[in-house]
């Protein structure tokens, strides 16, 4: 080794440029000092925490005592309490949100009316989109264009239709929260169970039903045609209890039911009422294996489900938090705070990126709850040919764990080889989420509904017990003019 070469390496080693530390780093480090140095303060905090928990426990005991007392008093009256509940429509909601019942009732009606108004009148008209707005073009980049076209169309229609929906929803949410839904927020997975509980007698849950997107809500929605008047209440309860979004991505669990109900009534949902992100999240669902601990970040890539043309791909990221059992009326505890999601694309590998849905900016979450799953999708135009190892995208999740109060970073990289696999080799979750997105966009006016129905039917046939694949296949088939099976 020559001394010149040695000096060159030394020079390179020494002259590595270093950026300035982030502005908040010093504060972050200093913020840790008291906790690590001052044991006494830590003890005091622990004592305060124990005291707080004891107070909560005492409150619960008092509430239970009052409930028992009321139960005993009712037992002595000639009519059983359950009969009284069955006789009036409101007390069903009252059971879950006692103080909210008065405020909630009008809001439910608003939601119902608006959804019906939003649908175009002719039942058989699962017709092509109005001329001059969306012109399906087979030769144009499907995954990219459907996002752009649908957004354009939605923007045209937004003012007259969205006002009513938002008014109704907000009214009800306000009522629900004021009415004492403890904590005010529920995770998407647990919300339907809460929604199922207050359903009217015709759609009442069976004893022992499980958590998650339980059969209760599914059954309630399946009965839409037979008992359409029951549906708005279930929707309203969903809307009141479930979180609307995570990182700014809509995860409204009632979105699919609303569309399903409209289609089953023979109408086509108005484009502006289709929440594509929520559909993605509905069909992505919960992880197959529940996350036992902490926060989990999953990424997956695949070719586009239809018209991939060798260079169009889908990138999915999903964040799942640990699953815990939560009492029916309890709030879901947080698992992390200060969560930030960052996604970088390598412009050497990606020609164009389109976020599927309406969210263009990921908003940091100050609090991330247990029992949460959130999925986002991107449609990519890739620069071909890609090398196997070529970096395409990097997804990074940072959060401060509630458990250890430390910042954690999870990072996943997506490379060229991830897009090379065939569509059927992608996970069911990925395929369902992608097809859900495609279907949502087709409802907004893009073409592709038939392809979605075909792909979803393949999925449903492969796994007959996969309820969501079946739901998607049926709904996509109906909305594309194929008729329900």
């Amino acid at each position: 080794m020559t001394s010149k070469r040695k000096a060159e390496i030394q020079r390179k080693l020494t002259l590595t440029a270093v950026p300035r530390p982030p502005d908040d780093l010093l504060d972050r480090i200093k913020g840790d000092i008291p906790r690590y140095l001052n044991v006494e303060e830590e003890r005091e905090r622990f004592s305060r925490s124990v005291g707080f928990n004891l107070r909560i426990a005492a409150s619960i005991i008092v509430m239970l005592s009052i409930a028992s007392l009321i139960f005993l008093v009712n037992e002595r009256t000639p009519q059983p309490a359950s009969l009284a509940i069955a006789e009036t429509p409101k007390p069903v909601v009252t059971r879950n949100t006692p103080a909210a019942s008065v405020a909630a009732a009008p809001a439910q009606e608003e939601v119902h009316v608006d959804i019906v108004q939003a649908a175009p009148p002719p039942p058989a008209s699962v017709a092509p989109p109005p001329a001059g707005r969306v012109a399906p073009r087979a030769s144009v980049g499907y995954l990219q264009d459907f996002v752009a076209d649908a957004r354009r169309e939605r923007d045209d229609e937004a003012p007259k239709e969205e006002v009513g929906v938002e008014g109704g929803v907000e009214g009800h949410v306000a009522g629900g929260v004021v009415g004492g839904v403890a904590g005010g927020v529920m995770s998407g997975e647990f919300a339907p169970q809460m929604a199922g509980a207050p359903a009217p007698p015709a759609a009442a849950p069976e004893p022992g039903s499980s958590f998650g997107y339980s059969d209760q809500s599914t059954r309630a929605a399946a009965k839409t045609a037979a008992a359409p008047s029951l549906i708005p209440e279930a929707y309203a309860a969903d809307l009141a209890l479930a979180p609307k979004s995570v990182f700014g991505i809509s995860i409204d669990p009632a979105a699919f039911r609303r569309i399903q109900s409209t289609i089953e009534n023979g109408n086509r949902p108005s484009p502006s009422s289709v929440d594509v992100e929520a559909l993605v999240n509905y069909f992505a669902g919960a992880p197959v294996k529940p996350v036992k601990r902490g926060v989990h970040l999953e990424t997956e890539a695949s070719p586009a489900p239809v018209e991939a043309n060798g260079h169009r791909g889908i990138l999915r990221f999903t964040i799942d938090t640990a699953t815990i059992a939560v009492p029916q009326r309890g709030s879901v505890p947080p698992i992390a705070k200060d969560a930030r999601l960052e996604i970088e694309f390598n412009r050497d590998a990606v020609e164009r990126v389109d976020a599927i849905g309406d969210t263009t900016t990921l908003i940091p979450e100050s609090v991330l709850l247990h029992n949460t799953s959130v999925t986002g999708l991107f449609a990519l135009n890739l620069k071909m040919p890609l090398k196997e190892k070529q970096l395409v995208a990097r997804v990074r999740l940072r959060y401060r764990s509630i458990e250890d109060d430390r910042m954690h970073t999870i990072e996943k990289e997506v490379r060229g080889k991830d897009f090379a696999k065939q569509w059927p080799r992608a996970s069911r979750r990925h395929r369902l989420a992608s097809l859900g997105a495609l279907w949502g966009e087709s409802l907004r006016g893009s073409h592709g509904g038939v392809d979605v129905a075909r792909r979803a039917e393949e999925l449903a046939t492969q796994a007959p017990n996969d309820q969501r694949a079946r739901e998607l296949a049926v709904a996509a088939s109906a909305s594309s003019g194929g008729g329900t099976k």
Binding site: V18, P22, E413
Partner: protein, 193 residues
């Protein structure tokens, strides 16, 4: 800034360090803050050179201090305080890259966010690419050589300090550096070919 600060740290008088240490051990938060203010940007710079990612370096710097506070009672004062901190930072970095699913890839350069419309400057890119290649090459060194090289060049520790913390002679450290250079030349040479 880092260069001058590192210089300041490594030349902090022994008595001054002892004063800070005693105060921190007694639970003096102000002394701990003083230590952080003196050292954090150098610790950040060391970790940044190891990982090449500013955000990650910030997180690992924070983690380094969290570990340091917990391990303070075990610090025997044989090495300088910054040397000890560097050792913790280095171990924190190693733990990070060994953690499953949290590893920053070393075989691909950092991606560039397509949203960023700032025009690329060729010179900047070339320098970044060179630094990245060098970092990758250093990461391929055997553990003892890697620590020695990074501690000396990126952590700014004198040979004598590294020898102390590694509990070997300064001659052995110099031999390590020599071996490291030979290997680096070989690795970088292969990449060029």
């Amino acid at each position: 800034m880092q260069e001058s600060e590192r210089e300041a740290i490594t030349t902090t008088p022994w008595s001054e360090e002892q004063r800070l240490l005693a105060a921190i051990r007694a639970g003096d938060a102000a002394a701990a803050e003083e230590l952080v203010e003196r050292t954090y940007s150098a610790v950040f710079a060391s970790i940044y050179r190891l990982c090449g990612d500013s955000d990650l370096a910030a997180d690992l710097t924070q983690e380094t201090y969290q570990k340091a506070w917990g391990a303070l009672s075990g610090f025997d004062g044989r090495s300088q305080l910054f040397t000890w901190l560097y050792r913790i930072a280095y171990t924190t970095f190693l733990n990070h890259i060994r953690r499953p699913r949290r590893m920053t890839s070393l075989d691909e350069p950092d991606s560039i966010d397509v949203v960023d419309e700032t025009p690329a400057v060729d010179d900047v890119l070339v320098v970044q690419e060179e630094a990245e290649h060098l970092r990758e090459a250093v990461m391929k060194l055997p553990e003892d050589l890697r620590f020695t090289v990074t501690a000396h060049f990126w952590g700014g520790l004198p040979v004598k300090e590294i020898a102390r913390i590694e509990e070997i002679t300064t001659v052995a450290i110099r031999k390590r550096l020599h071996r490291a250079f030979t290997m680096l030349e070989s690795i970088l040479g292969e990449e060029v070919r």
